[in-house]
Symmetry: none
Subunit: 228 residues, 2 copies
DNA sequence: CCGGCTCGTAACAAATATGTAACAAAGCCG
DNA sequence: CGGCTTTGTTACATATTTGTTACGAGCCGG
């Protein structure tokens, strides 16, 4: 669970502290010390979330929030407001201005991370978890279960994802590279041959129920899921 | 307000439209193009509601409805009938066959959602929560008491809430993060691993009555409550 | 029939995830 | 104010998964 986070904070010490906290939690960071700087950064990169200090030199954080909300490109970017004041009015103003959440300084790294996690989670795209079925072979993402003619089939997480992908993309041949992108993720670096091993493990798991022949090798091209 | 809805519709375009509408409303879906397919799906999963087209290849929708009503497992499942005909006779027949409601095509997504909501709401009381029971394991929110085959089981408040959540959301896998949100609350900041400890404590409490195996670990995904 | 590839498999070591126990802080109650 | 329970955290033990590699079998064009 990582993402790029824009930190808009004019106080260097606090900015540093925040950035450190975020990095430790596995996030990438973009720093800005003012509204202008932030705007410029956003022209070239689109963060997954913005952490904006309430008090900023020049235009205030509220102003920046309004701007972000006004721009179609950044309209739906989650925003968390940082405020030193704790009176209710400010909080409400921050929320009204379009922020998704606010944190009152001083705050602990733990709290910061939790809020970020919560906000990102709220925006997380709904994963489709419809049950997929083919000839008695059933994959249910909601219960994380695979059954062959009603009998539970055990397999590791990777094999599960692999099978799910195959079953939602049947008949087509998928190259090893494609499978890596789709099942492992764009960013991960693993050998192509690793796929073969997982294919083997998946086949082995399906073997007991007799569904192993559904995963076919297409020499020189990749693998395909389809009725034998 | 979510639930799994079985869509039985042979016309692909209409099926797709319906599924889209349902998804947008936050429901999970199961698709079937015929009575046979629907029957097979129901053998392995129990939807919260069924949307059945009147005209289907092979056995008709009315026939499917009768079957569902005849099976104890699906006896009380709400059913909404989709019909292209608008004459009164058909409507009455549909209702007589055991459907809870009927919708005449063409229908708007809004209407579909409204009807579904209405039907589900009618059934809601049983979900809302009074005493929850599974195979002799009983959780009573009113008295805050858990019994296994009649014998009281002692546990801490957190374990109680955890168990209650599990029992009202069986079968599904819940990630540690989801559990934190649902059982602890959005705003609480605790480590993910804390869940494991409470799971352990809950299992330990249930152990004496032999219900500990109901809480299953799904490696890489989270925990699930279901019959062993 | 001979290389040259591609794929299937098994074995292995490292990385991860989960189970458990112990501990200290925070609550709770009489 | 003590005792007692509940909680969250951590460290360590186990268990499982994952990625790599090495080797051999099968396929194919020449």
């Amino acid at each position: 669970m990582s993402g790029t986070i824009l930190v808009v904070e004019d106080e260097p010490a606090i900015q540093e502290l925040i950035v450190m906290t975020l990095k430790r939690a596995g996030h990438e960071t973009l720093r800005a010390g003012s509204v202008e700087e932030a705007s410029k950064l956003i022209d070239h990169a689109l963060p997954d979330l913005a952490l904006i200090d309430w008090m900023l030199p020049g235009a205030s954080g509220v102003e920046l929030t309004r701007r972000l909300r006004g721009n179609p490109r950044t309209q739906s970017m989650p925003i968390i407001m940082l405020t030193a004041r704790s009176d209710e009015d400010d909080k409400l103003l921050g929320l009204d201005s379009g922020a998704d959440d606010y944190i009152t300084k001083p705050f602990s790294p733990k709290e910061l991370n939790a809020r970020i996690k919560a906000v990102l989670r709220r925006r997380a795209p709904e994963i489709t978890d419809d049950i997929v079925e083919t000839n008695g072979l059933m994959v249910d993402p909601a219960t994380h279960r695979v059954t062959g003619d009603g009998v539970t089939i055990e397999m590791g997480p990777t094999e599960f994802r692999l099978l799910h992908f195959f079953m939602t993309h049947r008949e087509r041949v998928h190259s090893r590279t494609q499978l890596l992108d789709q099942v492992w993720g764009d960013h991960v670096f693993v050998e192509d041959r690793t796929i073969d091993v997982h294919i083997r493990r998946l086949r082995q798991a399906l073997e007991a129920s007799g569904y192993d022949a559904y995963i076919q090798t297409v020499r020189g091209a990749g693998y395909r899921f389809s009725k034998p």
